[in-house]
Symmetry: C2
Subunit: 217 residues, 2 copies
Amino acid sequence: MGSLTEENYIKTIYNLSLEPGEVSVSELAKKLSVKLPTVTSMIKKLSVKKMVSYAPYQGIKMTEKGKKEALSIIRKHRLAELFLVKILKLGWEEVHEIAEQLEHVNSDRFYNRIDELLGFPKADPHGEPIPDVNGKVVSQKSIPLSQANVGSSVKISAVTNDEKLFLDHLNSKGLQIGDQITVKKKEEFDGSVSIINKSRKETMLSHQVVEKIWVEL
Amino acid sequence: MGSLTEENYIKTIYNLSLEPGEVSVSELAKKLSVKLPTVTSMIKKLSVKKMVSYAPYQGIKMTEKGKKEALSIIRKHRLAELFLVKILKLGWEEVHEIAEQLEHVNSDRFYNRIDELLGFPKADPHGEPIPDVNGKVVSQKSIPLSQANVGSSVKISAVTNDEKLFLDHLNSKGLQIGDQITVKKKEEFDGSVSIINKSRKETMLSHQVVEKIWVEL
DNA sequence: AATAAATGTTAGATTAATCTAACATTTTAA
DNA sequence: TTAAAATGTTAGATTAATCTAACATTTATT
């Protein structure tokens, strides 16, 4: 983990990288309210630390290592925002500033408990997705399989449980992340769902299971 | 508000000042894990800012301004610890480190909500008293008047409510902080308490009132 | 294509917080 | 009561993050 300043650069670079086009030194300087040479020198430092890849006059690109770090900070920021709104009953407009401070708290225990207290939420109060402990982000357009319409064909984008037992269960049903599946039938009385998997076989998934499988339309 | 480093110096100086004897440069250096000259130079800086008073080779003394700042940080630290234990269910042994980070969060709204969420607690998980918003500390040996024994003579050490209405009420009963009073009778059915005030007059105080008056034995 | 505008880099200074080495004062104790 | 030990200060160096001024490269525009 780097300094507070480094964390702010990494988070900002990551956010800019999601927008179309290269991440430029001037964009970064503007976002961080510093002058251009300040950015150049910090980028060199982050480059030595392998958080970004950089060659003079070319744009700034994040490495996998940098992305991982960025997602960890963003996770903390968004969990903090949701916590401030849901638990401390602060307004969603006023929480950003406080979350900017809380995102630098270094304690996995702290953030995992907040995650738990909030029921492992998928999005912050602004609807932005919250990366999980491993930096996995459930796309904003994803929904739990339990909410997919009968007849729709969807792609498994994520599972919100990493337990071996759960993953083994999915394997035994012939399911994997990335698979395209079709929703055949939804049982009202117990919330179970019948689907057709990649191998065109029909299987039944319980309510507990379809709640934990997230899909993209 | 000063830098994070300044806040740590101020908090540490305050804590050392509660122990008997002068606060020395070497004590501070040891507590903060820095060398002596580092302390000397920071003390000079804090002295310019009127947080401490200092003359070379004499000890370090806190000013009122410094104490106020220290109590604000300590309040945040202790609220954070209690929050971590009570709400996030972390162990009391592990919360100190996280609280060291949270105490630097700059947001009154944040801490006042936590205070509220915890029910305006008087002590942290270690039994250390939590200063209120105004830096007032209820001594560890204080108890609410509602818990004092009949026949005991006690001194009013604090009131946990600053509303004019409440303070006017106390005035009308001839009560002030610092007054020595005697508990005459406690009514079981409504929690009211009869006391004898400084002027040897007997008065009845309701449950709501005796809950908010803290006394020392 | 030549040049002006925009963008990026280098060099060197500044500030906060730290350090080491050398010196000064105060306290302890022989 | 003076020498040794402990404690504190000053001077000057270092590192992180920032700045301004000067220079370099890239992009846009006539």
